[in-house]
Amino acid sequence: MSRAGSTAALAAVTVALGAVAAALPWLGVSSYVRTLVYYACYYMALGQAWNLISGMTGYVSFAHGALAGIGAYATVIALNAQWPVAAGLAAGAAAAGLASLVIGATSLRLRGAAFTFATLFFQELVLLIVRKLPAAGGPGGLVLQEIYPTSLPYVLMVVLAAVATIAVAALRFSRTGVRVLAIKHDETAAVAIGIDSTRLKVAIFCASAAIAGLVGSIHAIFVGSLFPDVVFAVEISLIALAVPLIGGVGTAMGPVVGALLYVGMREVFQVVAPGLHLTIVGLLILAVVLFMRDGIVGAAARAWATRRRTAVPAEGG
């Protein structure tokens, strides 16, 4: 199948699955199942946001949890000021996008680990600021004043996960996507063929942050109250990174597989070994890195290619 063909097929399947998932609240499915689907979509969308910058450019972010948190706060503040829902969500995406420009415009001019250190620093800095900020409710947090039906954040999160997945798939095989991946493989060579790597990295990070911001915005409507130590917990940034790492970095399907696996395992281990699920995720990543190199999707694609005795696909969709 051609690349455009496989991207279109993936988009069709994603839309179909998304439509089914979005319709679950009206199909009499138990709220337990709906909550699982919601969290799978939450991690899928957040993982896809991380994948967009870190999977595609190789610049590793530890701030995606904090970016989602900024989106969450911006949306709750906007909704409490009686903004319409759409405007509240836009405020969340815009706030996270702006925050990414602060990190990106400085650290993405440099190559190597500067960006990663900047995101780590940012993650801690934001928590400190939000704890002190009166508008953000201080350490006590914020409560969303209006109560929305849970089907609203549910449907929004399903749609966001589907749109983010299709966007990453479409980008992967576009000219721009190939130029972004070129930066990951060899930035010196990329610059030598006319790629403005700084601008491209900053733009991709901004798009990635806007998606992360939206994830936070929608989740804020879902949970209804924000506590800084929960919203800005470093675990969220780690899971945003773990999900694509498990599934496969730089592929559209990676975060989908990773999120389903993570949510499934978390359910099992919360019963079997409560409080240990992060450790287990760590072990899972270790196993994937040691035995599969490019995640479950990459390993599956290679096994498939070997069976068909064709060449190894480069970075599968």
């Binding site: 000219r175 130029r179 070129a182 060899d186 480069a314």
Partner: protein, 237 residues
């Protein structure tokens, strides 16, 4: 007007003087050979022309425009393409994607379609279009890198040791390809293998220890005593 005009170039790397007081002119349409022993400063001169390295003194002009402070990606867009002495393919991308990455935007091409398939045929990689670059041999990677630089549609092509590490057969193919490309593009070629490369050059410049020690036609270079001493002599020994 020269296509490239580098004047009084000096480059120091914390103490080491890699290039000192070099004037290098490249005329439009010529194939200029740049020769010299290890550490002569050839790659450093390439990096200075392509913008990967800023000179500590001197100025570079391209088509009469001072580009000394212009970043490398913009110089590539202005029409300076290059290859690397140690190949730098995008290993995780397919052969075709390696070329796709270099094609200028549709606006910059004036809507002319880029003929990447013809480019791949030119370097004999048409059968490997969908293979990851990581699966290619060194000889193929060298050709891929030339094709990638050409996908930019450059006016100037800088080739840093295109023959290094190639078999006799591959060397002959590469020289044949360079001879075809030179009909439409100005080329500067750094090469260790003077015996193979000099005959196809219009003109040659020889560097040693950061300075130019000889300049002229291939015939003049072969007879130049300074060159024989610094370079050809040790090669012949």
């Amino acid at each position: 007007m020269a296509l490239v005009e580098a004047r009084a170039i000096e480059k120091r790397f914390s103490g080491v003087v890699a290039v000192k007081d070099v004037d290098l002119l490249v005329a439009e349409g010529e194939l200029l050979g740049l020769f010299g022993p290890n550490g002569a400063g050839k790659t450093t001169m390439f990096n200075i022309i392509a913008g990967a390295v800023r000179p500590t003194a001197g100025a570079v002009r391209f088509r009469g425009v001072d580009i000394t402070a212009v970043p490398a990606f913009r110089r590539a867009r202005m029409g300076i393409g290059r290859t690397f002495q140690v190949v730098r393919p995008f290993r995780g991308l397919t052969v075709m994607e390696n070329l796709m990455a270099a094609v200028p935007s549709a606006a910059a091409r004036d809507g002319r379609p880029a003929d990447l398939a013809a480019l791949l045929r030119g370097v004999g990689l048409e059968k490997r279009a969908n293979d990851p670059a990581a699966a290619l041999t060194l000889g193929m990677l060298k050709r891929l890198e030339v094709a990638r630089a050409l996908a930019l549609s450059p006016q100037l092509l800088l080739l840093d040791e295109p023959l290094a590490g190639l078999s006799d057969r591959e060397c002959a193919d590469m020289l044949q390809f360079v001879a075809t490309v030179r009909r439409s593009i100005t080329i500067v070629m750094v090469e260790h293998n003077v015996h193979l490369a000099l005959p196809i050059c219009d003109r040659a410049v020889v560097m040693d220890a950061g300075s130019i020690i000889a300049e002229g036609t291939p015939g003049e270079i072969r007879k130049n005593p300074a060159v024989i001493r610094a370079y050809l002599g040790e090669d012949a020994a």
